[in-house]
């Protein structure tokens, strides 16, 4: 099997050791472009998401693959960065105040990193002011808000109004997602888009960054 195929398989299987080792092999050679490697990473996370949708994978398997992506990127990041001066975009992400769910967020963070984004993960139960400060500090293009529980609507509204007050709202596009949310709620709280899973998050981010 070709090196990139084995790499992709290790990511889908969630074998972090193998993904890291093969990532090292890829970085040691010069055969592959950054775009090609990122396409493999992204396709692997896409397949993991598809397996979850069909009931073949569950949350522990998604987390296992997300960990494999992180292990691979740890090795590959300098190699990719040498080749690509620009990232796909700069993202700040976190779970909003009043919510400590981190599984969905962690998976999305890994999928975005796999797709070439620079992601700043602020963790869970994040106050609105912390989002604003980090957006300003890193010059984020996108803010991704994870909100799992139904009680988080006010927290989403608070983030939007805090960014407006700080004069940052026009500089950053906001995407919200999570089990308790919907496109209607996204419109209601004033964010730019809703994304419900890995695939739609990647598509929405690409679109907001001006891609096709």
């Amino acid at each position: 099997m070709e090196l990139l195929d084995r790499f992709r398989q290790a990511l889908v299987d969630g074998d972090a050791d193998e993904a890291g080792r093969l990532g090292g092999e890829i970085a040691a050679g010069t055969a592959y472009s950054a775009d090609r490697i990122l396409a493999v990473l992204s396709a692997a996370m896409g397949e993991v998401g598809a397996r979850y949708e069909t009931g073949e994978y569950f949350i522990p398997e998604m987390l296992r693959s997300a960990a494999a992506v992180e292990a691979a990127l740890q090795v590959l990041d300098p190699y990719l960065f040498r080749q690509r001066q620009e990232k796909a975009g700069v993202v700040v992400m976190g779970t909003v105040r009043g919510d400590v769910h981190n599984i969905g967020k962690n998976i999305i963070v890994s999928a975005l990193r796999a797709a070439g984004y620079k992601v700043y993960d602020l963790g869970v139960n994040v106050p609105a002011a912390k989002f604003a400060a980090r957006i300003e500090e890193v010059g984020a293009d996108l803010l991704l808000l994870s909100a799992f529980t139904t009680s988080t609507k006010q927290a989403l509204i608070d983030v939007v109004s805090t960014l407006e007050e700080a004069g940052l709202r026009g500089r950053v596009k906001i995407v919200s997602g999570g089990a308790a949310h919907s496109p209607e709620l996204a419109r209601e709280v004033g964010v730019d888009a809703f994304a419900g899973d890995v695939k739609s998050t990647l598509a929405v981010c690409r679109e907001l960054m001006g891609g096709s």
Binding site: F58, I59, P60
Partner: protein
């Protein structure tokens, strides 16, 4: 038969006069019945008693959930919990990062700081006519809480031995809280195993990690009172295994088809469920509630081993008329 007798008859495999109605009406919704904000009641046992008793008197269902409040549950194991606004308590600091932290999980004293008073108080308030249900987390759910859910799930592959040790270390907490609930006046124990759902983990992982601790806890606690096992969202693939834990009833959530569930578990265990707490109770109309209740009765009433319930906690924003419709329709379609 009074409400309590009706409910306990189903759990004991005896014939009730009608289908008992015991919704999951807990600290989320109850405070609203008398206009209290939820956050006060999460941490104030007297407030919980007052609102849970008021809710039962208002709607007239057969059993009341005498919970201690979600906050104190992780709190009994030493997790730091915060409550803000009209919200659910958050565990803001997990307890277990590595193997040596297992020693931090002490067997809690469930009576400390008056934590069992809501149960005792509700039993006193509602007397012997209404069933009192006590609420405890399974060892698996306590383990997820003290470890953090993402790390706990990651441990299934990264370090399964550690996950097993952690679950085992949480068993005494489940047993201590469960026994105290009965001592304080609970007629039945609801053991919550929300994260053992096959909406989250595979049936294989359920069998490996969740089932053994469930079975052990139920075998111990079942000597004191009947145990109802609750698993959130989809539990269809694991229902036969859930029945094999020895639980007196399975509390099943709305994604499960009641008729198929009955087929899967046979007549040896009662089913409690499963009106959709969100799409029907929160977002539907009283007519929608009635339609859902009628369908549930048609699917599961025969055999007299059915308790009408919501699949999960009734959200705070559900209209009170829908709760009334649930009980009234339960009475209308639940006659034998």
């Amino acid at each position: 038969m009074n409400s309590r007798e009706r409910f306990l008859a189903v759990l004991a495999g005896e014939a009730p006069d009608m289908v008992p109605v015991v919704p999951v009406l807990d600290g989320y919704f109850a405070p609203k019945v008398i206009g209290r904000p939820s956050d006060l009641c999460w941490l104030d046992g007297n407030c919980l008693v007052e609102t849970l008793a008021a809710a039962q008197r208002t709607f007239g269902y057969d059993g009341a959930v005498a919970e201690m409040g979600l906050g104190p549950h992780p709190n009994v194991l030493g997790c730091r919990v915060e409550v803000e606004g009209n919200q659910v308590p958050l565990v803001v600091e997990t307890l277990v990062e590595e193997a040596r932290d297992l020693a931090k999980i002490a067997v809690p004293d469930p009576w400390r700081d008056g934590k069992m008073e809501p149960v005792r108080g509700l039993a006193r308030e509602l007397g012997r006519d209404v069933a009192i249900l006590g609420w405890v987390r399974s060892p698996f759910e306590y383990a997820a809480t003290v470890r953090g859910l993402a790390d706990f799930f990651a441990d299934f592959y990264r370090n399964p031995g550690f996950a097993h040790d952690l679950i085992r270390a949480c068993l005494p907490a489940t047993l201590a809280v469960g026994r105290a609930l009965v001592e304080a006046g609970a007629d039945a124990i609801v053991m919550k195993d929300s994260f053992a759902s096959t909406s989250m983990i595979s049936p294989d992982h359920y069998r490996e990690f969740a089932f053994p601790a469930e079975a052990q806890a139920i075998s111990e606690l079942g000597r004191q009172a009947p145990v109802i096992l609750h698993v959130c969202r989809n539990s269809m693939p694991i229902l036969p295994q859930m029945a094999a834990t020895g639980a007196a009833a399975l509390e099943i959530d709305s994604p499960v088809d009641l008729a198929l569930a009955r087929e899967a578990v046979g007549e040896g265990v009662a089913l409690k469920g499963n009106i959709d707490a969100v799409s029907v109770m929160e977002k539907g109309s009283p007519a929608d509630v009635e339609m859902a209740v009628k369908a549930a009765m048609e699917a599961a009433k025969a055999g007299r081993r059915f308790i009408l319930s919501t699949g999960d906690s009734i959200p705070v924003s559900a209209p009170s008329d829908n709760v009334a419709a649930l009980v009234n329709s339960g009475r209308k379609y639940g006659k034998y």
